[in-house]
């Protein structure tokens, strides 16, 4: 049976690594194993939007050609973004290189265990690419989310990472908010962290410092017993 995964996998083979393909199909969820013949046009758009973003990011060459082949294999004549209004945000924004007026879409990612860290950074990455941030910036976004999510798992046990597309007078960007109700950080420990002398048992004690260096805007709100909220923003152009 021709499923989305088998058809698209055959096209992407040799250009996009198996591990990356896996993450693409994971993001598609049940759609990946749906037979191509049973796709609705809305499904097709979802699949194509995801594929467009990923292929553009990961394929070293011929991304336009690959996307067109994928569209043909799925039975749609036009790639996503060229017609239907519901696809125009993500697809059109990434194809022009600069994001169009992006809506403030929010993704809320629960962080409770180690595997959520990997999921969070993949989600952050695809969100970053979707709103038109560069490849390099998207790796930084994913790394920052990884650090923040790890802090949640290590120190608070559980929490949430929220992603928001922002657009204001400073241009387009991605806002990351990491919230937990954990023990919080007292002022003595904060001093050690920013002074670079803090060493945690499990991590490097450098996660927060590292994130602060990566991002364009950074805000930390914490107090003992009140939990911790880190808000930071990545901007498109520096």
């Amino acid at each position: 049976m021709k499923t989305v995964e088998s058809e698209i996998g055959a096209i992407l083979a040799g250009t996009i690594s198996a591990i990356t393909q896996r993450s693409i199909f994971n993001r598609l969820g049940p759609l990946a194993t749906t037979p191509v013949s049973q796709l609705t046009s809305a499904d097709r758009l979802t699949v194509m939007t995801e594929l467009e973003n990923s292929v553009r990011l990961f394929a070293r060459r011929n991304s336009a050609e690959l996307i067109a082949s994928c569209a043909r294999a799925l039975g749609s004549d036009v790639p996503a973004g060229s017609g239907s209004p519901s696809s125009s945000n993500g697809a059109a924004a990434s194809s022009s290189g600069k994001p169009a007026e992006a809506p403030a879409v929010t993704k809320r990612l629960p962080i409770e265990q180690e595997k959520d860290i990997a999921t969070a950074r993949l989600e952050a990455w695809s969100e970053s690419v979707r709103i038109g941030l560069s490849k390099f910036t998207s790796v930084k976004v994913a790394t920052a989310v990884s650090e923040l999510a790890r802090n949640i798992v290590f120190y608070a046990g559980k929490g949430t990472v929220e992603l928001r597309a922002v657009r204001d007078d400073r241009g387009a960007g991605l806002q990351i908010t990491a919230i937990d109700q954990g023990p919080g950080i007292d002022s003595k420990k904060l001093q050690e962290i920013w002074g670079g002398t803090y060493k945690s048992q499990r991590g490097m004690g450098k996660g927060l410092v590292a994130v602060k260096k990566l991002v364009d805007e950074f805000n930390l709100d914490t107090a003992p017993g009140r939990g911790t909220t880190v808000t930071c923003v990545f901007r498109g152009e520096r």
Binding site: I19, E114, V139, K140, T143, G203
Partner: protein, 119 residues
């Protein structure tokens, strides 16, 4: 999810190609089994290929450094090969050091360097 990263022996070198999201548990397991294999095989070098790893954060860096240190303690040399440009840039910006391992652009170059060490 029982996942392990295979360790391949080529002459007196251990080769690990990391083809999966390097989550924390997996990285720690790798460190353990690598130590054991170095002891059993008398390996002179360990090469970790990370060319498929798209994100390396400070914690994973620490584990890589730890692997490098422990391999060195056992008398072998550890090489990390194939770090992606964006990953390298990110590590630099974060101010994170990858200083307990050697690096090489490709597997070939790492093998070459290890051979030079042994001759």
């Amino acid at each position: 999810m029982d996942q392990t990263i295979p360790i391949i022996q080529i002459r007196n070198c251990l080769l690990v190609s990391i083809q999966t999201e390097l989550h924390d548990r997996l990285a720690l397991d790798l460190q353990e089994s690598l130590m054991e294999r170095v002891r059993l095989t008398d390996a002179k070098g360990v090469i970790l290929d990370v060319s498929a790893v798209e994100v390396i954060d400070s914690y994973i860096t620490r584990i890589l450094n730890d692997i490098g240190k422990s391999v060195r303690f056992m008398g072998a040399e550890c090489y990390i090969v194939g770090i992606r440009p964006a990953v390298a840039m990110t590590l630099i910006e974060m101010g994170v050091e990858l200083d307990s391992v050697n690096t090489a652009l490709t597997l070939d170059l790492a093998l070459e360097k290890l051979e030079l060490l042994q001759s």
